[in-house]
C-alpha cells in the first residue's frame, strides 16, 4: 500500500546555506495518527511547514498519493486536502469564532453546513459564535484553530503542538478531539512535546534530531525504547527521581 503522504529526503531551511532539515523522510498511511517528536530545534515545525508549502524544499520531495506537492503554494496544497494548525498565533484574534471559521471555508455554499458540523464537534464554540477569538482562553483558541483548519474537510490534518500551554483538563479534551477527528477518517500528522501522551495514541512515530530521522516505529515501540526514553522523553528514571525529590 502506498502512503497517502510522504516526504523523501527533504532538505529545507529559512536562511540560505543553513538547512534546518537535512534529508527527512516520513510517511503517513490513510487513517493513521503519526507523531513527530524530538529536541527543540530538531526541525519538527519546519518539516510540517515544508509539507504545507510554507517553505520550498531545496532537495527531496513531498508527495500526496504519489503527486508532487513541493513547489506548490499553501493555498493549492490546502485545496488538495491538507489542513494545517500552526503552533501559535493560529487564530485571527480580532475576528469572532464564526468569522474565523468562515475564513477557513473554500466552498461558500458549504460554509453554513460546515460551521454547523464544527459546532457539533466543538460544542463550546457553538455556544459563543460571536465571541472574539482573541478574548478566548488557550484551549478554546486551539479549538478555533482546529475547527478553522477542518472547514474545507481535509483528508490530512497537520497539527503543530496542539497541547502546548493548555491546562491538564484541556490537554485531555484536545487529544480526545484529535482522536475523534481521526475516527472520522482524517489522517493526522502531529508534532508534540507532550511526547508520551502523543505517542501513546499514535499508530506510528518519528524521532527527529538535528534535522534528520533518528528513530521510527510504532508509538508503543518508541515509548518502550530505552534510548528514545533517555534522550527525548525525559528519561526512564523519572518516577524514581520524583520519589527522591519527595524526601527533601
Amino acid at each position: 500500500m502506498s502512503a497517502l503522504l510522504e516526504t523523501d529526503g527533504v532538505v529545507a531551511g529559512y536562511v540560505p546555506d543553513v538547512p534546518i532539515l537535512n534529508g527527512v523522510s516520513i510517511h503517513a498511511q490513510a487513517g493513521e495518527i503519526v507523531t513527530i517528536v524530538g529536541p527543540n530545534g530538531a526541525g519538527k515545525s519546519t518539516l510540517v511547514k515544508t509539507i504545507f508549502g510554507l517553505l520550498r524544499p531545496r532537495h527531496g520531495s513531498v508527495r500526496l498519493e504519489g503527486a508532487e506537492l513541493a513547489g506548490h503554494r499553501p493555498n493549492e496544497i490546502a485545496r488538495r486536502g491538507l489542513g494545517y494548525v500552526p503552533q501559535r498565533d493560529n487564530v485571527f484574534a480580532n475576528l469572532t469564532v464564526r468569522e474565523n471559521l468562515e475564513l477557513g471555508s473554500f466552498d461558500r455554499r458549504a460554509t453554513a453546513a460546515q460551521i454547523e458540523r464544527m459546532f457539533a464537534l466543538f460544542p463550546r464554540l457553538g455556544e459563543r459564535p460571536r465571541q472574539r477569538a482573541g478574548s478566548m482562553s488557550g484551549g478554546e483558541r486551539q479549538m478555533v484553530a482546529m475547527a478553522r483548519a477542518l472547514m474545507p474537510d481535509p483528508r490530512i490534518l497537520l497539527v503543530d503542538e496542539p497541547s502546548a500551554g493548555l491546562s491538564p483538563a484541556f490537554v485531555d479534551v484536545i487529544f480526545d478531539k484529535l482522536r475523534e477527528i481521526n475516527a472520522g477518517g482524517v489522517t493526522i500528522v502531529m508534532v508534540e512535546q507532550n511526547a508520551r501522551r502523543a505517542l501513546a495514541m499514535s499508530d506510528r512515530g518519528y524521532v527527529l534530531d538535528l534535522g534528520a530521522n533518528r528513530f521510527t516505529g510504532t508509538g508503543r515501540e518508541l515509548l518502550d525504547d530505552p534510548r528514545v526514553a533517555e534522550l527525548y522523553l525525559g528519561g526512564t528514571a523519572r518516577v524514581d527521581a520524583s520519589a527522591a525529590d519527595g524526601q527533601k
Binding site: 478566548m136 484551549g139 502546548a164 500551554g165 479534551v173 533517555e230 527525548y232 522523553l233 520524583s242
Partner: protein, 266 residues
C-alpha cells in the same frame, strides 16, 4: 528552604481589568524567600495577568505588591526588574534581529561600558566587566544547549529554543526572584527535566526564589514547595503539592476528572 524564611513577594488584593473583563479580581498570595512556588489554574484564570500586574506591565487597580518588604505596586517594569524581580513571557520576546549572544549580553546589569565617560576613563573596568558578562552568557547558553547558536540571529531559533533563550536571558539579570510563565510548554521533556534541575540548583546555590506558572503537573508536583491555585481571577487555594493535588476543587476544575463535562471547565 530555611525555617527562618520571610516573604520575598507579598501580593494583597490586587486587581486588573481590561475591556470590561476583570482578569485579576482581588488576588492574594505570598512567595517565601528561597522557595519554588508554582501557580496553577485553568486557562483564563488570570495567572499571566497576575504576573503582568506584579511586574508592572499591567495597571494595578488597588491592593499592594511588596518585594522583599518594599512596596512596588504601580512602579514601572524596569524599576521592578532592577530591584530583583525578573520575568519571562509565555509568548517569547527574543530580539530576533540580534544574535543570540547579544540578547544575553543586553540583559546583564551594571555594565560600566554603558557610559561613554567610563569607556574613555576606565577602559580596563569596562573590558573586565564585559569579559565576565560574556563568560556568564556562554555558560548559561551551554546549560540550555544553545551555545551552538550563540552567533545566530535569535529569529532563527525554534519556538522551544526561544523559550530557553528567554530563561537564560532572565538569569543574566541576576534576579532575586524569577517569575517564569510556562517554562516547560514546548520544551522537549528531556531538556525540561534538566531545566527543572537547573532551577533547583539555582535556588540552592544562589538563593534565587522562583514563582512559575505551569500546566505540567508532574513538574509542579515534584519540584514546587508550594502550589497556589487561581480560578476566575482569585487565589482559591494554596498549600503543599500533595494537599493541592488531593483537593476536590482542583481535581474537578483543573485536572479534569474524566467525569467532569467539558462545559464546567472554565
Amino acid at each position: 528552604m530555611t525555617d527562618a524564611s520571610r516573604p520575598m513577594l507579598e501580593v494583597r488584593d490586587v486587581a486588573c481589568s481590561f475591556g470590561g473583563l476583570r482578569a485579576v479580581d482581588g488576588a492574594t498570595l505570598t512567595v517565601e524567600e528561597g522557595s519554588i512556588t508554582a501557580l496553577i489554574g485553568p486557562n483564563g484564570a488570570g495567572k499571566t495577568t497576575l504576573f503582568n500586574v506584579v511586574t508592572g506591565f499591567c495597571p494595578c487597580e488597588g491592593g499592594s505588591v511588596r518585594l522583599a518588604g518594599q512596596e512596588i505596586a504601580r512602579w514601572a517594569p524596569h524599576r521592578i526588574a532592577r530591584l530583583g524581580m525578573v520575568r519571562t513571557f509565555q509568548l517569547t520576546k527574543a530580539l530576533s534581529a540580534m544574535p543570540v549572544i547579544d540578547n544575553m549580553l543586553l540583559a546583564a546589569p551594571d555594565q560600566p561600558g554603558e557610559r561613554l565617560a567610563n569607556v574613555v576613563l576606565r577602559p580596563r573596568a569596562v573590558h573586565a566587566r564585559e569579559r565576565a558578562v560574556r563568560d556568564q552568557a556562554r555558560e548559561l547558553l551551554a546549560a540550555f544547549r544553545l551555545e551552538r547558536h550563540a552567533d545566530e540571529y535569535a529569529g532563527t531559533l525554534s519556538g522551544g529554543q526561544r523559550k530557553l533563550l528567554e530563561l537564560a536571558r532572565a538569569l543574566m539579570a541576576r534576579p532575586r526572584l524569577l517569575l517564569l510563565d510556562e517554562p516547560l510548554a514546548g520544551v522537549n521533556p528531556s531538556l525540561g527535566l534538566e531545566l527543572l534541575q537547573h532551577m533547583q540548583r539555582l535556588r540552592t546555590q544562589e538563593g534565587i526564589t522562583f514563582l512559575f506558572i505551569e500546566h505540567d503537573m508532574e513538574a509542579v508536583m515534584n519540584h514546587a514547595d508550594l502550589v497556589v491555585v487561581m480560578a476566575e481571577g482569585r487565589v482559591i487555594l494554596s498549600g503543599p503539592p500533595r494537599a493541592v493535588a488531593a483537593d476536590d476543587r482542583v481535581i474537578d476544575a483543573y485536572l479534569g476528572g474524566k467525569h467532569v463535562p467539558l462545559e464546567e471547565i472554565a
